[in-house]
Subunit: 240 residues, 2 copies
């Protein structure tokens, strides 16, 4: 790959544009491939403060629109608060089950979909669309760019946690306004992700929903198009 | 950290819940810390097919709500198409500049904010909210969960690319409907990210907007709250 160590006026600012050594590259791919959405495997052991600090720093190194850094991380350790969130989940999840066709409801109800109380730490990740000021570079034309930045931070957090042997589960079956009320999160912020975080008994070798027969993974090729949208790549959506 | 290799009924499914070896963990953190939003450093060299396949496979390993896999990746190599997208950017960017207060407009116009034509590959990443069927596990109560899944795929792609020495720049100063029309993307899909992808002369050691004095990074501690929202963490938003 070309290098430009002899190019004037740029060298002092630039790290070489080269690939990581194979072992390091493979480690990145391993974090990506073995990251799991953890629900039922949490252990109660607390997370070491240094480890948590590294994971949060990784989240904060995410890209953000106009460098607006719209994310916040509300750490929830108190069991009483986590129990209140778990009650919000339980109610929402009962509602959710009823939305599926009758033949899937029984299977839905067997799935464990959260570790809110069993994980020792929850992290509520929010996004503040006003963080960057009234006009934000890069946020002038497309909607939701602050949310996208915040999700990048969550994915950084998730991968860093995997490398630390820490499991993360993202819970989205929640009444957002009620969670915000419990945590005192200001009205203008969006709740983007509610994460359960902790050491784990282990990581499944495949996505749990696939293992349990809920849905299968596509081949990546079905999602790749060349020089414009190529129709007929996907199977029709299942009628569920 | 506890292991459960002797726990009945689970072991066959679970990889050990342990941290990566230090060197591997550090490689993950290095990808996260040195990933940059690349605009001006692209080289014209094409990306090797195997490398691109690895990067796309990493994107496709992202978590998705209900395993819905809502993302698609439209690869754009033809220069004529990239030139049309660049024209859409140019118009949007001229509009964007005018939204800033007078004293920032001149600085805004000096910033290079895209590599649409200089990068040999663009990837338009879309999200299909109907991909998982009429009712999607995990998408019953919070909005935009498909978008969040798709952003996780983009961040996976970005980090994998960094480990491969490939630069990625996310362009959001675009008229979404016009880009979708050029690429023939169906109406129901959201355009989430428009990425410029290619080998680079190098990677900046800090976010470019910080280097160029547009905005500074906060300390991560300003974004962390304990057991509920703790006010007064952030400086007031700048008046720009």
């Amino acid at each position: 790959m070309p290098r430009t160590d002899d190019e004037p006026g740029k060298v002092e600012d630039l790290a070489p544009g080269v690939a990581f050594a194979d072992a390091d590259r493979d480690a990145v791919y391993r974090a990506i491939a073995t990251r799991r959405d953890v629900r039922g495997e949490f252990l109660p052991d607390p997370i070491c403060g240094d480890t948590l600090a590294r994971i949060l720093a990784a989240a904060h190194q995410a890209p953000s629109v106009g460098l607006s850094q719209p994310w916040d991380f509300v750490l929830i350790r108190k069991r009483e608060i986590r129990s209140r969130i778990a009650a919000i989940f339980a109610e929402a999840n009962a509602e959710a089950a009823q939305r599926f066709p009758a033949e899937r409801q029984a299977q839905y109800r067997t799935l464990k979909l959260e570790g809110i109380v069993s994980a020792p730490l929850n992290i509520c990740v929010t996004s503040d669309p006003a963080r960057g000021g009234p006009v934000i570079l890069g946020a002038t034309h497309m909607a939701d760019t602050d949310l996208f930045s915040t999700v990048c931070a969550i994915q950084n957090l998730w991968l860093a946690a995997r490398a630390e042997g820490i499991g993360v589960g993202w819970v989205s079956i929640l009444h957002e306004d009620r969670v915000k009320a419990v945590l005192g999160i200001p009205e203008r912020l969006r709740l983007v992700g509610y994460l359960c975080v902790g050491h784990v008994r282990g990581f499944f070798d495949r996505p749990e929903l696939e293992k349990r027969g809920w849905r299968t993974r596509d081949n990546v090729g079905a999602h790749v198009h060349e020089d414009g949208w190529n129709a007929q790549r996907h199977m029709p959506a299942p009628k569920d």
